[in-house]
């Protein structure tokens, strides 16, 4: 994947769900749950790097 062509992630996002979803086979189950949990965990990575910058 050409990462240079990805749109700039918004605050709270490192790898957008849409980008991750493209890597997966077609979703058969609850799309919304996959998205919610992906985004919740992804946000922790944003917290990590931005707090390293701002708080430490």
């Amino acid at each position: 994947m050409d990462e240079s062509k990805q749109p700039t992630p918004k605050p709270g996002v490192c790898i957008p769900w849409d980008e991750k979803k493209r890597e997966l086979p077609p979703i058969q189950g609850d799309d919304a749950q996959f998205q919610q949990v992906w985004e919740d965990v992804d946000a922790m990575a944003h917290t990590y790097i931005w707090h390293l910058l701002v708080s430490f």
Partner: protein, 428 residues
């Protein structure tokens, strides 16, 4: 910070500690403990002053950092490398002094975490500096800044990606640059760093709960903000590098500040007090004259900060301007902000002049000079506090604190003198 979210959910905005007791109103079967009543009294006092009101007496909210180590008989190494010791020292001070609010831990940098990540820009007590000297921040060399002058576009295009891919490998001795073979130390940096941060942040909830339960003390602030300009100066280009960029590439500096704004707002909002009672801590470093010119302040620093403060206020959050250094030249700009939206903490500014200029609009804190608290007599401390109460606190909207964060040079006797005098003379 994230830990403040957990903290405030469990503390300030969370459950109220109600205890069962046999000697109270049996109809209700409940009464507040003495400590909880004290907490509620202090919370009301503190938040009334924050909103420029006149409480029952002047609130005392000292930001005691390495002072807590000195008081608890610990070294700076002990409290900076083991946050549990820092927490214990903060609890001991809160229990022994009649303070309304404190920071859960003002020794905010846990050097155990910075070691785990491999960060190079801290001077760690007991290793890089003597064990009883506070931790230090090392400015990057001008010719080896953590971000190069020709990397602005990369930062602007994707700030988060830049931090992970470019900045972190430069500030950490363990993290590998993109394209380099991953190493054991690289992998451990992320694992240990992430788990350490989670452990640290989550420890603040119980700490705030203990402050409330054991001494009836309010957690004074929640969340963190820094100005986009200061982030560029402190952590990316270095002050000297940025000073040159302001002349050689001002548009890129401006666009970089704009690119940082939404992320810094996000961090501030996500770490703020959900109950909207206590302010977000905003630590102001080098955005004032003479570090930059009036023109640079007006065209760059302020336009990329003011919208963040306004947005926080739209969400119901006050911001505490911890104005390190002298900011008197910029008070007119701060007056553009909505009434009560900020609390202005006076460091080296003349607190009396600050009060005259902005006291009609914002709560003011601080202004008791650290040199007085460290090196002068208790009577000199009392005399200065009297003047502050008479001239600044007279109509409310003032919170007693030292000018700057108190380290271990501050005298215990003088802190006691300040506390006792303000409690006694500061009754409205």
């Amino acid at each position: 910070m994230l830990f403040y979210i957990a903290a405030t959910k469990r503390g300030i905005s969370g459950e109220v500690f109600i205890v069962h007791s046999n000697d109270v109103d049996r109809k209700r079967g409940l009464r507040m403990s003495d400590k909880e009543m004290l907490y509620q009294q202090r919370l009301k006092r503190y938040t009334t002053a924050l909103r420029k009101g006149k409480p029952d007496c002047v609130p005392i909210r000292p930001f005691v950092a390495e002072f807590t180590a000195k008081y608890a008989g610990m070294t700076c190494q002990e409290v900076s490398y083991d946050y549990r010791k820092a927490f214990e020292a903060a609890l001991k001070c809160a229990a022994d002094f009649d303070w309304d609010a404190v920071a859960a831990s003002m020794v905010y940098v846990w050097t155990g975490l910075t070691h785990a990540v491999g960060l190079k820009y801290y001077g760690v007590p007991g290793i890089d500096v003597p064990a009883d000297t506070g931790f230090q921040y090392r400015e990057p060399p001008e010719d080896n800044a953590f971000m190069r002058a020709d990397e602005y576009e990369q930062l602007i295009a994707d700030p988060t990606g830049f931090l992970f891919n470019v900045w972190l490998p430069r500030v950490s001795g363990d993290v590998c640059a993109v394209g380099q073979p991953a190493t054991f130390r690289n992998n451990l940096s992320f694992l240990k760093g992430g788990m350490a941060m989670m452990s640290y942040f989550h420890a603040f909830g119980p700490q705030i709960e203990r402050l409330r339960r054991e001494s009836g003390t309010v957690s004074a602030i929640s969340g963190i903000l820094k100005a986009p300009f200061d982030i560029l100066a402190d952590k990316l280009r270095g002050y000297m590098g940025l000073a040159m960029d302001l002349h050689e590439r001002p548009k890129e500096v401006q666009r970089a500040c704009q690119a940082l704004m939404p992320h810094l707002l996000h961090i501030a909002l996500s770490s703020a007090d959900p109950a909207r009672q206590v302010p977000i801590g905003f630590w102001m470093h080098r955005g004032c004259v003479p570090f930059i010119s009036h023109d640079q302040f007006n065209t760059l620093y302020w336009p990329t900060l003011k919208p963040i403060i306004e947005e926080l206020w739209r969400h119901g959050h006050q911001t505490m301007f911890y104005a390190e250094g002298r900011w008197l030249a910029h008070l007119d700009a701060f007056l553009e902000l909505p009434e009560q939206s900020i609390v202005f903490h006076a460091d080296q500014d003349d607190v009396f002049a600050v009060h005259k200029k902005i006291g009609h609009k914002f709560c003011i804190s601080g202004g008791i000079p650290n040199y007085l608290l460290a090196y002068e007599s208790p009577q000199a401390v009392r005399d200065f506090c009297k003047r502050v109460i008479d001239e600044v606190a007279v109509d409310g909207g003032y919170i007693c604190d030292a000018s700057a964060i108190m380290q271990n040079e501050v005298s215990i006797e003088n802190i006691r003198a300040m506390t006792d005098f303000v409690r006694d003379y500061g009754q409205y």
